[in-house]
């Protein structure tokens, strides 16, 4: 037996009378609760982020070789040394160019994958997982696979085997900078590792676009495909795109793991962080100069990020804009 209920007669269930006891003392204080939850993280942030940043800035004005305790004040000498160091300034320049290439490429690939997966009518979860899984892989592990299995220089390397089918001789992908095949190795590893993560961000944003917009556009005569993508999808993804580009830019300048493992001790294709690593650790143990380099790199990232924000609009951004 079934019962029917007219919608207009339906009444929401009366709210259950609150029998909560009046909150006493600190537990009832919003301020206390705020500090209870954010305090530990703030303390961690100060100790592990702000203090080291401050210490690094302080250290950059001192001579600090083989020690992280400032010994002799030398003003801007460390900055001059780093700017005179062709390797470091070269790395900053190279990675500005690298960022200019890898950021739009990853953005386009992630968005393309997201659109592809979003349109699937079946096995969507499977393909979403397939594209996302590389994100879970360690950069070091991926680099070693790329270096030792796929792009090694001997005849049984995967890439050399494939080009061998077409009669092409073995290529030394990483040892020889001329021609610079190492970029192919690095870029393919980076795209494989990163695109899945950004695809998930775009997928979430795509699924938040109201369907009514597309329906209204169709009624107005908009053609599905490029036209709706250009005038509806892309503007709706603006906030997500801004965030993705910001993250990609920072990641490009902070590249380390795959470069460190793929290009050991070269003078080319070396990111600023690897330069600083060699400067401050295994080679020179010059923590003063290393800190000066770190400050300059941070400044560069801030400038590029602010510039990007100016163009794309920081904080303007919910998806509806």
């Amino acid at each position: 037996m079934s019962t029917t209920t007219k919608l207009d007669l339906a009444r929401p269930a009366p709210a259950k009378a609150s029998k909560a006891r009046p909150r006493r003392g600190l537990r009832g204080s919003p301020t206390f609760n705020f500090w209870l939850f954010t305090g530990p993280f703030l303390i961690g942030l100060v100790i592990f982020v702000y203090v080291p940043i401050g210490w690094s800035i302080w250290l950059s004005f001192f001579e600090a070789r083989f020690t992280v305790t400032p010994s002799k004040f030398i003003g801007f000498d460390n900055y001059r040394f780093m700017l005179d160091n062709g390797n470091f300034t070269g790395a900053l320049l190279t990675f500005t160019v690298f960022a200019a290439f890898i950021v739009p490429t990853t953005w386009a690939l992630s968005l393309g994958l997201a659109m592809l997966v979003n349109r699937l009518r079946f096995m969507r979860a499977f393909f979403r997982s397939v594209f996302f899984l590389p994100t879970a892989c360690s950069y070091v592990a991926a680099s070693l696979i790329w270096k030792m299995s796929i792009f090694n220089g001997v005849r049984f390397g995967l890439a050399n085997t494939v080009i061998g089918w077409f009669g092409v001789e073995n290529v030394a992908w990483l040892a020889n900078p001329d021609p610079p095949w190492y970029w192919l190795v690095i870029v393919s590893a980076r795209l494989w590792l990163q695109s899945g993560f950004y695809m998930i961000l775009f997928l979430a944003a795509l699924q938040n676009i109201p369907q009514e917009l597309y329906e209204a556009a169709a009624i107005d005569g908009a053609k599905p495909g490029w036209q709706t993508f250009r005038h509806i999808t892309l503007p709706q993804l603006r906030a997500t795109s801004t965030a993705v580009i910001l993250l990609l830019l920072v990641a490009a300048y902070q590249a380390f793991d795959e470069f460190f493992n793929l290009l050991a001790k070269t003078t080319w294709g070396r990111p600023p962080l690897v330069e600083l690593y060699y400067m401050a650790l295994g080679q020179n143990q010059d923590y003063g100069a290393g800190s000066a380099g770190a400050v300059m790199l941070t400044m560069l990232i801030v400038i590029v990020t602010l510039f990007q924000g100016k163009i794309m609009g920081f904080g303007k951004g919910d998806e509806s804009k």
Partner: protein, 421 residues
């Protein structure tokens, strides 16, 4: 109904359990799994750092020696990966620094007060050490490390491949280039000098009649002969006869063992593995002379034991070094000859090491004696990097050798000024 009903796991119970676990954390750190050794020593705890040797059984051997020591609990950090020095130097700045560590003699360790003076424990047996090893660990008359092993590095070759190609053992760098060309086939490359070529930097300098630093600690590598050698190596690098981007680097014998190349630069440590794989089809020769002014050379690398001068147990660490690397000759011989082949730095042990007395190992010892060059304590990491950059820029990237050497000399001179004033 389960005894663990959900009612038993209310919010407070969970929080209490979490707090309890947090409180137990520090206690757990006091347990047995704390990185310290389980030896039969007294209450003194010592930590030693070793890079991961490629030869099977080496880690177990080092731990076995440590366990046999009864005056302290000695634990071993066996550090894998290719960047041992970075990890070591980073840790030396912290309170978790090891009490002992292996490394190569470098003056910046002495100048920055990171290594303890070991003169008092070495002095009584100083004459029994290879004097070149003593010299390479001495600054201002004080000895700062104990050499554990000497590692000569030279070329290994497949005799059958050279015979088949009618190629004689190269005596000059030009002959090596010609040999590599004749030995290269569709499946085998003529020679392998390592993926980044760094292993042959010093041999090239010596074989060109130059040196890293001279007796007055001034740069001595920026010569026309070295520039000429760099040009010749560039020719070999671009010839297509050199194995590049091998899955394992020069220190691993696989390139030769697997037939990827006919000639490989490697160290004597790999000799037992190569002999096992190739039998008698194996020969060795030094890095050939670059020009008439030069002479064949062999780099006598190796590892030494140092005591962290800023550690909490300097005296106990020195006692352990004295016990293991000075008194325990049986362990020293075991370490040098039971895994890979190394030359014991103690002349009495080297003289009695039967495994090194005949056949190819004896030839290796002869090359070590005739053509060997030892570490120069004044040649630091920054200087090593400067010459690595020269190789990267000239041999691998076709830069001008003389300009690159000038740049490296500038860097090395600045470093020397910082070290010696």
């Amino acid at each position: 109904m389960s005894a663990m009903s959900s009612s038993n796991w209310d919010r407070r119970s969970v929080l209490r359990a979490a707090a309890g676990l947090a409180a137990l954390g520090p206690l757990a750190a006091c347990g047995s799994n704390n990185g310290r050794g389980g030896g039969s020593g007294s209450g003194t705890n010592l930590t030693q750092y070793f890079h991961a040797y490629g030869e099977a059984g080496t880690e177990q051997a080092i731990k076995r020696y440590a366990k046999a020591y009864d005056k302290a609990n000695v634990s071993t950090q066996w550090i894998t990966g290719s960047d041992f020095e970075s990890k070591l130097f980073a840790t030396l700045l912290t309170k978790n620094a090891p009490d002992l560590f292996e490394f190569h003699p470098q003056i910046q360790l002495v100048k920055s007060g990171q290594v303890a003076d070991l003169t008092d424990i070495i002095e009584p047996v100083k004459d029994d050490f290879n004097q070149a090893d003593i010299q390479s660990h001495t600054v201002d008359g004080k000895i700062y490390g104990v050499r554990m092993i000497d590692d000569p590095q030279f070329f290994f070759y497949r005799k059958s491949m050279l015979e088949k190609a009618n190629v004689a053992v190269p005596q000059t760098l030009d002959e090596l280039i010609e040999a590599a060309a004749k030995l290269t086939t569709s499946k085998v490359k003529g020679a392998f000098l390592g993926n980044d070529l760094h292993a042959v930097i010093n041999p090239l300098i010596w074989s060109a009649g130059a040196d890293t630093l001279d007796a007055q600690n001034q740069p001595a590598f920026n010569t026309d002969g070295v520039a000429e050698g760099l040009k010749k190596l560039r020719k070999l690098f671009t010839s297509g006869d050199l194995l590049l981007d091998a899955p394992a680097d020069y220190w691993d014998p696989s390139a030769l063992d697997q037939g990827l190349c006919a000639i490989q630069f490697c160290g004597m440590w790999a000799m037992p593995t190569m002999q096992k794989a190739l039998g008698d089809d194996l020969g060795i020769f030094p890095f050939p002379k670059v020009n008439d002014a030069g002479k064949p050379s062999v780099y006598n690398g190796g590892w030494s034991m140092f005591v962290n001068a800023k550690g909490k147990n300097v005296d106990a660490a020195k006692e352990y070094v004295k016990w293991l690397w000075i008194e325990q000759k049986k362990y020293q011989e075991d370490w040098a000859t039971s895994y890979g082949f190394h030359i014991p730095p103690r002349t009495s042990i080297a003289a009695s090491a039967t495994k090194l007395k005949s056949g190819l190992p004896a030839e290796g010892v002869k090359l070590f004696t005739d053509y060997g060059h030892f570490d120069n304590i004044g040649w630091t990491q920054a200087m090593i990097t400067a010459t690595e950059n020269v190789f990267a820029d000239t041999v691998r990237k076709n830069g001008d050798p003389k300009a690159s050497l000038d740049k490296a000399e500038k860097t090395v001179s600045a470093e020397l000024k910082k070290l010696f004033g």
